[in-house]
């Protein structure tokens, strides 16, 4: 089952899928990859640019993964002879693999910053925490987020899931961008007070929101188990 999960994960990264599921927020990627770093001074020094792009790579990957790996099975998997438990195993393992892979990519991209010693340990911890939070938020969605008739927010608004995901995601993105800004502007020597600016909201808001979001996990898995609820509403 794990082989199938891994194969399906990477098979989703194909051009046709990008065009269909990611293209509508491509302008955001372009904005974050070019305009924002240019106007924010991230291109002034190579160290700044390195910090910025090492943080953008996992962020964009997690965003893509959120659009490409929504929590439902390929249609044929609902037809083939699998018990409910086997289907559940596929769905849960797919989600866990997504979280692990996205988090691992975040850690790998953080490693050069650690090796270069350009920020404090606590900053790395907050960065990795942000990646994990982001991955947790996006991999628990039954519907693709973005501009769509039945998008994730509409789908989940009855149980506030969409609202929680939305607020938590905004905080996560602000946190990541803020850390990148600080690292660049301060040349990596971020002071303790500036770090607290991101640690306190992470503990006070992000953590409880993420925990609350995870309480919807079973709802999301149950929904993904049903063809009717996943495809024909």
């Amino acid at each position: 089952m794990m082989g199938r999960v891994i194969k399906d994960y990477f098979a989703a990264f194909r051009w046709g899928n990008f065009k269909e599921k990611v293209a509508h927020f491509l302008y955001l990627v372009v904005y974050f990859a070019t305009i924002l770093p240019a106007v924010s001074g991230f291109f002034d020094k190579w160290e700044y640019a390195l910090v910025y792009f090492l943080m953008m790579i996992p962020t964009i990957h997690i965003l893509n993964s959120g659009a490409l790996h929504i929590m439902k099975m390929p249609k044929m998997m609902y037809v083939v002879p699998l018990t409910k438990d086997m289907k559940r195993e596929y769905i849960v393992k797919s989600a866990i693999f997504r979280i692990c892979f996205c988090s691992l990519l975040g850690m790998i991209c953080t490693l050069p910053l650690v090796l270069l010693g350009i920020c404090r340990v606590i900053t790395y911890v907050v960065m990795v925490y942000d990646y994990v939070t982001f991955a947790l938020l996006l991999c628990g969605m039954n519907e693709r987020y973005g501009i769509e008739e039945r998008d994730a927010w509409q789908e989940a608004r009855s149980d506030c899931r969409g609202l929680i995901q939305g607020i938590d995601m905004i905080i996560t993105v602000i946190s990541l961008f803020g850390i990148a800004c600080m690292l660049s502007w301060d040349g990596g020597m971020v002071n303790v007070y500036a770090n607290l600016l991101f640690i306190i909201p992470a503990i006070l808001f992000q953590l409880p929101l993420t925990i609350k979001h995870m309480t919807y996990w079973n709802t999301a898995v149950e929904k993904a188990l049903s063809y009717e609820r996943s495809f024909d509403k």
């Binding site: 046709g16 249609k75 609902y78 037809v79 699998l82 009717e228």
Partner: protein, 287 residues
């Protein structure tokens, strides 16, 4: 009995499948007919276990999805209008990937049918036309010794020469008397030749459910002068239609009924039956 539906009901928003009951023994082809939006695909989704019925009993080869989902799915071959397979994989890869879940899957059988249907196993699924995608689903459904083939309107997408091949394969498939087919379509001309049993649904409810011979014995299409048609007993007439060539009426028929000699009496085709019943007076819905 390979398929038993008893009082199956299902709400799908404002639409509702209403108390559908039908039994299909081994060795039969059942035509599932009805106008667009009548509930054919929804009923097929219920039979496939993709939709859960709100009420009623569904047994396949005496088993229910609740108790024996894997066994049932091993017995069912499916052709749906939905594109089920992985778009980026080749036909052969799709066959191997999904065939692995079936107890009796045979790659040789799949390749044999792909060759017979003119499909290249090395082509990617996404490169196929709609008709070819359905052909591949059909080939796959035949590759693991399924006992019940459930085919949702495939024929409309097949070219005329493949339609002949398609019906020939279906006849071969049921020839040993242990397998059955449910073929949903609104193109009824082929069903006239091949179907043993017809389930006609409209607005989610059963209009008739009977073997085709009984259907042929139950209705007559009368053509003649309008005043002659008007003399027929009202309760016998299902629908009357006037045209430049005379007046036609579909009527309920019994062996003991006799008709005016000036009326032309014919056994209606399924297409004519569907046409007249769809147009019948709304007050006389169920028969």
């Amino acid at each position: 009995m390979l398929l038993q539906l008893k009082d199956i009901s299902k709400s799908l928003g404002k639409f509702r499948i209403k108390d559908i009951s039908v039994e299909l023994p081994e060795g039969y082809i059942m035509g599932l007919i009805g106008p667009n939006g009548s509930g054919k695909t929804s009923l097929i989704h219920i039979i496939l276990g993709l939709y859960k019925a709100n009420a009623g009993e569904l047994l396949i080869d005496g088993m229910s999805y609740e108790d024996s989902e894997v066994e049932i799915r091993n017995l069912i071959g499916t052709v749906l209008l939905d594109e089920l397979f992985d778009h980026s994989a080749t036909l052969k890869e799709n066959g191997i990937n999904y065939g692995a879940y079936y107890k009796n899957f045979s790659l040789e059988t799949l390749e044999m049918y792909m060759k017979r249907f003119g499909l290249d196993g090395d082509r990617k699924f996404k490169k196929l036309s709609k008709g070819e995608k359905l052909k591949f689903q059909f080939a796959f459904a035949l590759s693991y010794e399924a006992k019940l083939l459930i085919l949702d309107e495939p024929t409309a997408n097949f070219d005329p020469s493949f339609r002949k091949e398609f019906f020939a394969v279906l006849k071969e498939y049921i020839a040993d008397g242990t397998k059955s087919v449910i073929l949903s379509t609104h193109l009824t001309e082929d069903l006239d030749k091949i179907a043993d049993y017809i389930l006609y649904i409209e607005n989610g409810g059963t209009i008739f459910s009977a073997d085709i011979e009984k259907l042929r014995d139950s209705y007559r299409l009368l053509t003649g002068e309008k005043y002659k048609i008007n003399l027929l007993p009202k309760e016998q007439v299902i629908h009357v239609e006037e045209s430049n060539y005379g007046t036609r009426a579909l009527v309920n028929h019994r062996a003991r009924y006799s008709y005016d000699k000036e009326l032309t009496v014919a056994v209606p085709t399924l297409e004519e039956l569907m046409y007249f019943i769809t147009k019948r007076d709304k007050g006389d819905k169920r028969r």
